[in-house]
Amino acid sequence: MHSPNTRPISVTVDLTHKTAYRPFIADADVAIQSADITPAQEAETILANLPLEPTVERIAIKHLDLFYGSFQALKDINLSIASNQITAFIGPSGCGKSTLIKSLNRMNDLIDGCRHTGAILLDGIDIDTGINVNLLRKRVGMVFQKPNPFPMNVYDNVAFGPRTHGIKGKAQLDEAVEKALVDAALFDELKDRLKENALGLSGGQQQRLCIARALAVQPEVLLMDEPTSALDPISTARIEELVVQLKEHLTIVIVTHNMQQAARISDKTAFFLLGELIEAAPTQDIFMMPQDERTADYVAGRFG
């Protein structure tokens, strides 16, 4: 699966090195201004540097079999998800992408008759046994396919998570809300509309609000299940841009129906078919030199 020039060499890293969630620094503009090299040069330097960059494994999926009643939706999935990278799940409808991503923060627990064997490790800890489920979901946040802001105002939506996890003081809440909205690139748009009902926002704003809501609890991993499938191209582009910015501080797993989207934003891509993980590799390898014929067919648009 790995060609010689693939870089992410998985390095087992001491957990004490785990970086805590760092506050956002709005330095994108500064970075662009100071860059007086051409994009090509920039790309070259980035590529040159890549092999040196160690990746920390944040999530490990080991021999995961998952059943809805007697129907097996996932078959022996083994996958490693690296920290501060965007991992994309692609594959035709019904192949189990949503099922797998929901397993990562145990949202499948809510479904009657759903059970699994195998293990999912978050920083080496079994998420089924080693951690309280609510704490797990605080650390592994989720953005859903359909924007689902609560029927309350913008502020309360974003403050919901922090309040859930015990932040009470008004000043602290204000700060958390503002920070989350800034991180989701939504603050300027909504700072005067904090008391407005969130259901009155546009679809794209609603989805970014859901991202802000998820960011407000300062997760380490953000799961996104086709977050742009219900949105127009402009909103989609904004969210893609945002996701790429977010990976500096977060590990992102994104399910997408849209192969261009996976190619544009992800570092690693996993291709699924009928509940099986067919191939997982650096995104450019998946698209440029897939190892499996079925992957090749799919990325070439020959089925699905």
């Binding site: 009657d112 989720m142 359909k146 609560f150 998820a214």
Partner: protein
């Protein structure tokens, strides 16, 4: 559809359509007649009561104390509000709690859920006099609470419990799963999800159910005559007998001595029920809109 059909089949079709359309026409006529009749009867009753009652709405009718000369409905009105309040204080937490348990805690395939649901459905079909009989046997006689505010209120609470439970359940079920996922996905527990996300969304539906329950209580007499009694005074405690507005009307009507005041009382009762039902309908409409 008809392009490819041969002329013979086509004419046969038209014939059949025509005979069917006559049937449909008759059916429609019957439906209209039925609707007209029921609305007509209802309108007649309401108008009749208003005509008979409004001229006799005298200030004496609203005296704070009842006696056989003023036939005041004031104590009964106060008692109605009082007994409604007590019944709701008992029935709402129980009904709402049961609904929350059934929709949010018990698994979808849980046996208890099915059993409770069937029981609730059966209970809501039982005539109120049966509840009255139960209240008489259990609260009044067995627990020896006599005919009292508390016996009546408990009987009423049991009577509206299935209604409150069912409407609350429907209201909770109508809250989109997206909200549940959103809340759980942020690490909120079940209780927090229920209290902070689901109940606020379901409130209009739940309130509508409560208002329907109030409507039933206000209009109820059969379940109260032998449980709350007929004393036309504001009770000084939970164990005193009370007479609600409906019971008051029943007593006046059966005595036959104060026909005019009976109609006037009916007007007040009618207005009360009308206000409650309008409120309920408004809430239901708001709820349906989301």
């Amino acid at each position: 559809m008809s392009q490819a059909i041969s002329p013979t089949i086509n004419s046969r079709l038209t014939r059949r359509t025509r005979s069917r359309s006559i049937g449909a026409w008759i059916l429609r006529l019957l439906v209209y007649l039925g609707a007209l009749l029921s609305v007509g009867v209802l309108l007649f009753i309401v108008v009749y009561i208003l005509i008979m009652g409004i001229p006799h709405l005298s200030p004496a009718l609203f005296d704070p104390v009842y006696n056989s000369t003023n036939v005041s409905l004031m104590p009964a009105l106060a008692n109605t509000l009082l007994i409604t309040l007590v019944a709701l204080v008992i029935a709402v937490p129980l009904g709402l709690g049961a609904a929350i348990y059934l929709t949010e805690y018990a698994g979808r395939k849980n046996r208890i859920v099915g059993a409770v649901r069937v029981t609730a459905e059966t209970l809501s079909g039982i005539p109120s006099i049966v509840y009255g009989l139960f209240g008489l046997l259990f609260f009044v006689t067995y627990l020896n609470w006599r005919m009292s505010l508390i016996s009546g209120a408990l009987t009423l609470a049991i009577m509206i419990l299935p209604l409150i439970m069912r409407t609350s359940e429907e209201a909770l079920k109508a809250v989109p799963d997206l909200y549940r996922e959103g809340s759980f996905g942020l690490g909120a527990g079940r209780l927090r999800t229920v209290l902070r996300v689901l109940l606020p969304s379901a409130t209009p539906g739940i309130l509508a159910g409560i208002l329907l329950g109030i409507g039933r209580i206000v209009g109820e007499s059969a379940a109260l005559i032998y449980t709350a009694g007929t004393v036309a005074e504001i009770p000084s405690g939970l164990f005193d007998s009370t007479r609600t507005l409906s019971v008051h009307m029943y007593v006046l009507a059966s005595e036959g001595l104060h026909v005019e005041q009976t109609y006037a009382t009916a007007v007040v009762l009618l207005l009360l029920v009308l206000i409650i039902n309008t409120l309920a309908a408004t809430l239901v409409r708001r709820f349906a809109k989301g």
